[in-house]
Symmetry: C2
Subunit: 219 residues, 2 copies
């Protein structure tokens, strides 16, 4: 899909070469991210709250208490903007002006719809598997009461775009390249530490296979 075919609020204006609009790019950023920032309008003013989310096919699910202001506003059809950002590095240039960061961000505009009974268990599975792949089959499934206390909403990906900044600083080809200052990228990544057992963990219960796999894959 080309840039020209995008609705105007979707088009990446600043640094248009950084924009992506294809679904593979959108899915990639959403699937690599961990937290979404969800914005809506309340009494004329913007509100932006962090939320856990999961993508399944053409939708992003969010969940929260049925009593939360954000979930109530969004369930009522308030227009929403869902933004997922991951930081990949600090970009150190020779000048103050060219300092920046490498990142990828996905922005979705849309209106959430409530998720009905048939879809709720699948959404819960997606949330759990996003926290840690394989976890769903290791833990107690949600009770009827728990399912009822949770508001689950879905938004489509028809108005989604991605912006990416990657690579070295932009001043390699400028007169600043003559300055005697180190320039480059310091990579950043969200990495896990050693698992910390819950104080109430029963003696003799070892780490779950899902946790073991995580440790083996990225020790």
């Amino acid at each position: 899909m080309g840039v020209a075919s995008q609705p105007s609020r979707l088009r990446v204006r600043r640094g248009p070469k950084k924009g992506r609009y294809d679904r593979a790019s959108v899915d990639g950023v959403l699937d690599r991210g961990l937290v979404a920032h969800v914005a809506f309008v309340d009494a004329g003013a913007p509100v932006c709250v962090p939320m856990f989310y999961a993508r399944v096919g053409d939708h992003v699910y969010i969940h929260g208490s049925t009593a939360s202001r954000a979930m109530r506003r969004l369930a009522a059809g308030a227009p929403a903007c869902v933004t997922v950002t991951s930081i990949h590095g600090l970009v150190l240039a020779r000048s103050v002006f060219e300092h920046t960061a490498n990142y990828e961000t996905a922005i979705i505009f849309g209106v959430f719809r409530p998720v009905g009974p048939d879809e709720r268990l699948a959404a819960f599975e997606a949330f759990t598997e996003k926290v840690l792949p394989g976890r769903w089959s290791e833990v107690r499934a949600p009770s009827k009461k728990e399912l009822k206390a949770t508001s689950i909403l879905a938004v489509g990906l028809s108005e989604a775009s991605v912006k990416v900044r990657s690579g070295p600083p932009d001043d390699d080809d400028s007169p600043d390249a003559a300055i005697d200052t180190w320039a480059g990228v310091i990579p950043l990544a969200l990495v896990h530490g050693e698992p910390e057992p819950s104080p109430g963990l029963r003696p003799g219960v070892g780490v779950s296979p899902s946790v073991k796999r995580l440790l083996e894959e990225s020790p």
Copy 2:
């Protein structure tokens, strides 16, 4: 400052024990965070974009191109919500329902003001020092042209709150604690990798003292 004295939109409603309103808590979350999600309203709909920022005293600065839609709307006095979130861990419970994450988030409501000539260099210094402490004195200062091309805005911290989730899963004292499944926290942290020199780096230019200090402090 107590919870009761907070304007209503600031009050943390879900999990009120997770709320903090004192300036030390707000400053801490802002100073530890790296990216802000800034929300504003455009043509009636919310827009939420990631931005770099820096706190100096009682203000948070953001910067961007004078041509960007977000900076133009915010400079014109559009109400804003600035949210900074850091993730500290995955919380693995014995039930699907109790899975969550440990995090800290600061939310600021306010209206940005344009930053005048006298304050602009100090704001630039704050941005640079937030990317990497000590970097400001190693690099070329902004030119007049660069200063002119950048919009710098400030928002006060009078309407700011913090929400924190920390510690083990909540099901240690529930019947679920009898389940034979590992429960606990997998800590997460944004950590840096080996510095990657820019392809155009002049031969013989070693890493800057600021980079060296970063590597020594957290190898």
